[in-house]
Each structure stands twice: as structure tokens, then as C-alpha cells.
């Protein structure tokens, strides 16, 4: 080996500002969009939007979408799609409803069983993709139709003809696990804050915001865990490698089959978590739950910087992507725009937010 021990500092590297370093991370790419959208609504929307209760209001759908979006992002980084997660929300909701209402199981059994059911279907998706070598797009597309149809047939079977299964709220009432999956957290704290006047309350004295909806907590926790896994564990490295180039990853000894199957199980479980939360919250489930959510989850991931071709992206990006999407869809109701213009507005804002991210990133990092 050459005896030299060159100074670590290479003369061929220019100094780099902190801003540049941060913007280079895909994790932070979507922040620009969040800022832009926030500014826009600060200027146009009713001030109620950015009160505490307004924020909870748009964060709730963002959280539900985001849980799916983060899972979809991980799967996309791993190089695959799952188009069946929207239908899985309906299907898992049905299964969960049947367990709690028809069979009367307590949550401690109903939830793990629902999850296991979903994971099994996810694994099946993955196994078919690996076995046949078909694109996951087409395999999970079949899943989209089949699970949606199965939810319909199942609901009719278990309700005696209706496409809506009701009574879940009553069935889980008082279950010790229910607070983990429904309602609001920190209600005591918020009640106290309201009583001392720190946060607004209704005339009745109840705080306007009774607490933080649990899905928001789940959303934040899942985003953190997913980021940790992707960035700080060997498994995360395998996910990136698998999506970047399956062949190269396999040749380098990455267990790509295991990675892919686990990711499919993960998306299915994320879908059933959303199903459980929304079903308990709503107290009912129907055959159209989660309609088009697979699509929105992919949108979320892409807004957050994931490449459709795999191998690149981040969970935090999807986190911000979901917030952008949630803010834009709910935000319009706080403005004076006519509902007819809703879709024009939604499309325009999405494009603006993403273009803005991009311009900022290029400006900062000096890419051509």
C-alpha cells in the first residue's frame, strides 16, 4: 500500500453550507411543499384552520392516509407496488367487524387476528409476485378487485344482506385496548388546559379539542420507526438495495425474497391498522371504505420523493407528503372557493408543492 496518508480534506471538494447538506436528504425534500401550502392557506383560509382544532382536523385524515403512505413508500423503495391496500382497508374492516360484532371477541384477540389475516394476504401477494415473476402492479391489482369484492360478499353474508356493518362502537365499548385505537389521547390534559383557558372551549365548557386523535400519534410513531428502520438498520439497507437493483442485491447476498414478502405483509398490516382505527372511530364499516386509498398512498409517497422505479425515497418524505395532501383536501373547506373548483385546486396545489420542493432543492444544492 502506498505509504502516503493524504490529508482527509480533499482539495477537490468545495465547502458546503448546512442548508445544502440538509436539502440533499430526501427526508427533507417535502418540507418546502408543506411550507408553501401552509403559507397559501394562511393567506386564503378562514383563521379557524390553524386553530388547534383546525389543525387536528386536517391532521386526522393526513394521519390515516400517512400510515398507508409510509408503508407504501417502504414497499416502493423496495421496488414494488401494492394496489390492494385500499381494498384491504375495507376487507380488514369487515373482518374486524365480524370478529367484534358477530363473534363478540375482545380487542386483545380481534386485533391480532385481524392483523394476522391481513399479513397472510400480504404474504400471499408477495409470494405470487416472487413465484410468477409478474409485476406486482398486476398481481396486487387482482387483489384490489378480489378483496373489494370479498368485502361486499362478506358484509352481505354477515349482516344478512346489507353492505354496512354497524354496532362496532358498542361492541368494543369499555375494552381496555380501545383507547389505544380510537378516540383521543391526553384528554385529561386537554380538559385541564381548557379549564384554565389555554385552549378554546365550547359554550358548554367542554374543550373544543378533547385531545390528540390517536391516529395522529400512530402516524408520528410509525414515521419515526420506519425512518429508523430504513436509515439505521441492516434491514433498511436491504430494502434500498432490493429496490435499487434486485439482481445486484441478490448477487451481493441480500435476501431479496424475504425483504419483499415482509414489505407486502407490512403494507397489509398498515391497511388493517387504518381499518381498525377508522372502524372503531366510525362504529361501522361498509364495502366502500378505503376506496382509492391505494392510489392516494402512492401519491403520498411520490410527493414525498419516492421514485416509482424503486431504490430511493424516505418515510419522512411520505410523512410530509401525507400532511400536504391532507392539508390541501381539507383546507379548501376553510376557504371561499366554490366546491366545483375543488379538483382544479387540488391538482394545482399538488403540482405547485412538488415543483416548489424541486426548485428549492436544485437551487440549494446547485444541481443543473
Amino acid at each position: 500500500m502506498s505509504a502516503e496518508n493524504l490529508s482527509q480534506q480533499d482539495e477537490r471538494i468545495r465547502a458546503e453550507s448546512l442548508a445544502t447538506k440538509l436539502m440533499k436528504k430526501p427526508e427533507l425534500g417535502a418540507i418546502g411543499g408543506v411550507v408553501l401550502v401552509t403559507l397559501f392557506f394562511l393567506a386564503t383560509a378562514d383563521s379557524a384552520m390553524f386553530t388547534l382544532s383546525g389543525i387536528m382536523n386536517f391532521m386526522t385524515p393526513a394521519a390515516q392516509l400517512g400510515i398507508l403512505g409510509i408503508a407504501a413508500a417502504m414497499l416502493m423503495i423496495g421496488g414494488e407496488f401494492d394496489l390492494s391496500i385500499g381494498s384491504m382497508v375495507a376487507f380488514a374492516g369487515m373482518v374486524f367487524g365480524v370478529f367484534t360484532v358477530n363473534l363478540g371477541l375482545p380487542l386483545i384477540f380481534a386485533i391480532p387476528l385481524t392483523m394476522a389475516f391481513a399479513a397472510l394476504i400480504g404474504a400471499l401477494n408477495g409470494a405470487i409476485v416472487l413465484r410468477t415473476g409478474l409485476p406486482s402492479f398486476i398481481v396486487t391489482l387482482a387483489g384490489l378487485f378480489i378483496l373489494r369484492g370479498a368485502s361486499l360478499v362478506g358484509l352481505k353474508l354477515f349482516t344478512g344482506g346489507s353492505t354496512q356493518l354497524r354496532g362496532v362502537r358498542d361492541a368494543v365499548e369499555g375494552d381496555f385496548l380501545a383507547p389505544l385505537f380510537s378516540g383521543d389521547a391526553f384528554t385529561g390534559l386537554f380538559g385541564w388546559l381548557a379549564s384554565i383557558g389555554v385552549i378554546d372551549s365550547f359554550k358548554s365548557g367542554a374543550p373544543k379539542v378533547p385531545g390528540i386523535p390517536v391516529e395522529i400519534l400512530w402516524f408520528v410513531v410509525i414515521a419515526l420507526v420506519a425512518t429508523y428502520i430504513l436509515v439505521r438498520t441492516p434491514v433498511g439497507n436491504w430494502v434500498f438495495a432490493t429496490g435499487g437493483d434486485t439482481n445486484a442485491a441478490k448477487n451481493s447476498g441480500v435476501p431479496v425474497r424475504g425483504v419483499k414478502i415482509s414489505l407486502f405483509m407490512l403494507t397489509a398490516c398498515a391497511a388493517s391498522l387504518v381499518a381498525i382505527i377508522t372502524v372503531i372511530d366510525a362504529g361501522s364499516t361498509d364495502a366502500r371504505r378505503g376506496f382509492m386509498k391505494e392510489f392516494e398512498a402512492i401519491i403520498t409517497a411520490v410527493i414525498g420523493g419516492c421514485l416509482l422505479t424503486g431504490g430511493y425515497g424516505s418515510a419522512i418524505g411520505a410523512f410530509f407528503g401525507a400532511i400536504i395532501f391532507g392539508m390541501v383536501t381539507i383546507g379548501l373547506t376553510y376557504t371561499d372557493f366554490d366546491q366545483d373548483w375543488f379538483q382544479i385546486f387540488l391538482g394545482g396545489m399538488l403540482l405547485l408543492a412538488v415543483v416548489f420542493n424541486n426548485v428549492i432543492r436544485k437551487r440549494v444544492t446547485g444541481e443543473r
Partner: protein
Amino acid sequence: MTRPIIHMESIKKHFGNVIALNGVTFDVTPGECHCLLGDNGAGKSTFIKTMSGVHKPTAGEIFFEGKPLSFDSPREAMEAGIATVFQDLAMIPLMSVTRNFFMGREPTKGRGLTKRLDIDRANEITMEEMRKMGINLRAPDQAVGTLSGGERQTVAIARAVYFGAKVLILDEPTSALGVRQTSNVLSTIARVREQGVGVVFISHNVRHAMAVGDRFTVLNRGQTLGTAVKGEITSAELQDLMAGGQELAQLEGSLGGTI
């Protein structure tokens, strides 16, 4: 001669209607460097891919340390102690140098739930191993896709050498390397061979092959032309064999026999 680590017997490999290998026999013993030579398209890469678990042979047998064996995946071959530098390098352009280096065999610290990538140590090792090969990386988190051809090849070699256990397979490792890096790689081959590792070395450069090879097997159009031991064959003879026995084009400047 000691018992071979890997012995491949009459390996055939067909891709659809293309016959890439038509009965190749080959072995490598501990502490030797066995060179696999041959014209373009002779089947060298295909052959070492069957050796490292990427392809399953259409026919033929593989013995690993005397036992018949067939690797179902490159991971299995790796776990058995075979490290390979593929001709296409098997790297992910979008990932950083360190992450590519340790792909599939990441160092961890902590235990249980806090078990996580030891990214600092990984970075350090990567910089150090690359420096040994003569490349001073700017930063270990540079994406491999932005490296120069030679830098990229060096990452693949350094990785295989670092993890190499019993057999080290190198498919044209020096093709994109500069003179300094080449001489480092060749001396690395010499070093690991002394440590008892069996090396399979593919090259088109007769001089490189002669410099480190102990035995030379020449493939031609999917078949073995024969194996020679070092000292029994001259550079010129070897070169003739590699060209498939066909005469070479005449050059005004002349290349003095060996290219």
C-alpha cells in the same frame, strides 16, 4: 496438490436456445490462483456465475470441499465462503459507497431492539479498504452512481477481498483500473493467496495473468481448451490460446507479442 475447495465437473449451461457452456471442468485449491482465460463470449462470466450461485447449471456437478452441493442463491454461496467480484460489479448506483460495501452483511452495534447499523465503523472500514487499493474517496456517503468507472470497480474488489473467506472470484477486476490501482489489486491477490484462499482470476491481460497465476485454464466457445501449470507455458503460447488460435491483426507500432 491439496484437495480442491471447489470442483466443477462437466458444467453445461443453456439460455433458451443459446448454449453458453458446453461441458467445462475446473477446480481451485486453497492457496492457488487459478486463471480463467478466453476470448470474448467464451463463457467465463457464465461459468463463474454458476460457481457463485447466480445461475443453476443445466447439467453437471459441483463439489464444495468434496461434497456434492448446489447453491440455491448467491447468499448461500457467500455463506459457504465464496466472495465474488462480478463483471457488472453488482452495485446499486443510487446507494452510497459504504452501503454498497456492506450490502447484505452490515455491521451492527447494540443488541435486541436497539441493534442497529454501525454506520461510523462501516464508513471507516470502507475508507480504509479503499485507501489500501489506492483510491482516496472524498466521502463514504457519495452515491456509487457518481463514482468514476475505476473507483466503482475498486469498491467491488475491496468488498470481496474484505469479506473473502475461502474462495475469491474476480471477473476482470482490473479492466477499468489505473496502473497504481492495478498493481495494488495484483499484490492483494498475491497476499490473500498466501493466506490460503483460493483465487479464481479472469483477465484478458496475459501479463496480469502470468504475474499472479499458478494455473491457467482457457475456455473457447463454451468448452475447455485445456489447463496449463505456471512455467509450462509461455506468454506467447497463452496469448495464442486465448485468441482461439486465430492470428492477430497487424499493427504498425506493433505490440511486441503481448497486448
